[in-house]
């Protein structure tokens, strides 16, 4: 009996789960359109969670609430132990250095070269960074996404897949703890999309990040996520692994796997 208790205690001590993102009862409406209704979500350290839902179901709204680009009507968003709604602009900027955001449209600055795009967040956040250190970071992230040769190119000269990789490099350059991916494979052909999905997984392991992936691309979700949260009618409808949800008989869940 005593031995069993020891094993239980040991296992509890061995698996401390650190929650890096907790969302509770989140509500967001635009007029009469209730996009998020009492939405709950938890993301543990090192975990990749996908939020699956139809177009217009509020996935992008959710992700923008997390990063503070939209203000929720109600509910609580706790990122790395801090409540977003209690932060001032300076604290929000501070937390944003630890939370990367890969935009659906990539959002690369058209008027800047790839190098300037990558240097921009570095110079804004780490004001005292040296030129040599900036250069080292730029080369490192470009090497990691396999696009070192594009360093002096303009975004307009790059293909869709390359732009996505550069956007990912810009997200990684600040060494974030959490990365929010907004539809990372939308608009890409299946081969490029598969490459991006693999890169997301690979970079997550290399940089030891947690990720929240917003998508309706089942291949991307299967390749990148440990857990899936289904966003239906603004609520967290159900959660589970890809395999668990695939076996689910509920028609609302099943339609995504057909």
């Amino acid at each position: 009996m005593g031995k069993v208790q020891t094993i239980e205690n040991m296992s509890i001590k061995k698996m401390p789960v650190e929650k890096v993102l907790v969302i509770e009862k989140l509500c967001k409406s635009f007029g009469d359109n209730h996009v998020l209704v009492d939405f709950d979500l938890e993301l543990n350290k090192g975990e990749n969670v996908a939020v699956l839902g139809k177009s217009g179901s509020g996935k992008s709204v959710l992700i923008k609430c997390i990063i503070g680009l939209l203000t929720p009507d109600r509910g609580r968003i706790n990122v790395l132990g801090q409540n977003i709604d209690e932060m001032n602009i300076r604290e929000l900027d501070e937390i944003r250095t630890k939370v990367g955001f890969l935009f659906q449209s990539n959002a690369l600055y058209d008027s800047m070269t790839v190098r300037e795009n990558l240097e921009f967040p570095l110079r804004r956040h780490w004001i005292k960074i040296t030129v040599a250190e900036t250069e080292r970071k730029v080369i490192e992230v470009l090497n990691n996404v396999g696009l070192l040769h594009t360093v002096d190119m303009m975004p307009a000269e790059l293909s869709g897949g390359m732009r996505k990789r550069i956007a990912l490099a810009r997200t990684l350059i600040l060494d974030p703890e959490i990365i929010l991916y907004d539809e990372p494979t939308t608009g890409l052909d299946p081969i490029t999309a598969k490459g991006i999905s693999n890169l997301i997984k690979e970079m997550g392991e290399k940089y030891n990040t947690s990720a929240l992936i917003i998508s309706h691309d089942m291949n991307c979700i299967r390749a990148t996520s440990d857990k899936i949260v289904m966003l239906i009618d603004g609520r967290c409808y159900t959660t589970g692994t890809y395999e668990e949800l695939k076996e689910n008989k509920d028609p609302k869940v099943k339609q995504f796997f057909e």
Partner: protein, 256 residues
Amino acid sequence: MSLPRTWQRFLNETGELSRFTGRFFSQGFKPRYEISELLRQCYIIGYKSLPLVGLTGFIMGLVLTMQLRPSLISYGAESQLPAMVSIAVVREIGPVITALIFAGKIGSSIGAELGSMRVTEQIDAMEVSGTNPFKFLVVTRVLAATLMLPVLVLLSDAISLYGSYLGVNIKGVTSLDLFFKQVFDALSFDDFIPAFIKTYFFGFAVGIVGCFKGFNSKKGTEGVGRSANSAVVVSSVLIFILDLLAVQITDLFGLN
């Protein structure tokens, strides 16, 4: 009894623009100052507008001189041509025409640039990067437009007078020295200073309207075109309204 929809839209737009201007004054002069971006914008907005402004100024002086000559001949006052042109150019035509050219070039480019940044989420990306996009994009552009237009007007006025000198010499012979002596004899600081001061307001109007339209752009690429277009239209109308106010104020101070 409700206002017609167009009036409601107009009042909403005016209210939003006023709030946007208020935000400029509340945020624009607090640190962190975006000096390097301000200088870059001064270069783009000021230096790169110089060829267009110079060319239009030169043609303006030349055409005005050629158009005025027959009227002055009929009054036997041809010798007053340099004085007439210089007063017209320095007091009114130079500032207004240059500001309108500036609104067409800079107002539309700011509206389109910020509009496309808005619809492609670049402004959101900037915010996520820890940069206040209002300070980085809006404050720098509005300040650059406000500071650069007076300089462009000065240069345009000067080039315009050279155009006028050419116009005078097409059908007559006048030395450069004599031409500019007549010009400076006719002009006083009362002509120059009010006209110069109002160009700051014109520049501010072009900058703030262009930024307002672009920063609040909606509806994808269609919205970008609309932002650029309405930036030019609204800032051009504002230039005329401000000019009307400037004339009333200078008149009030007895400077007309």
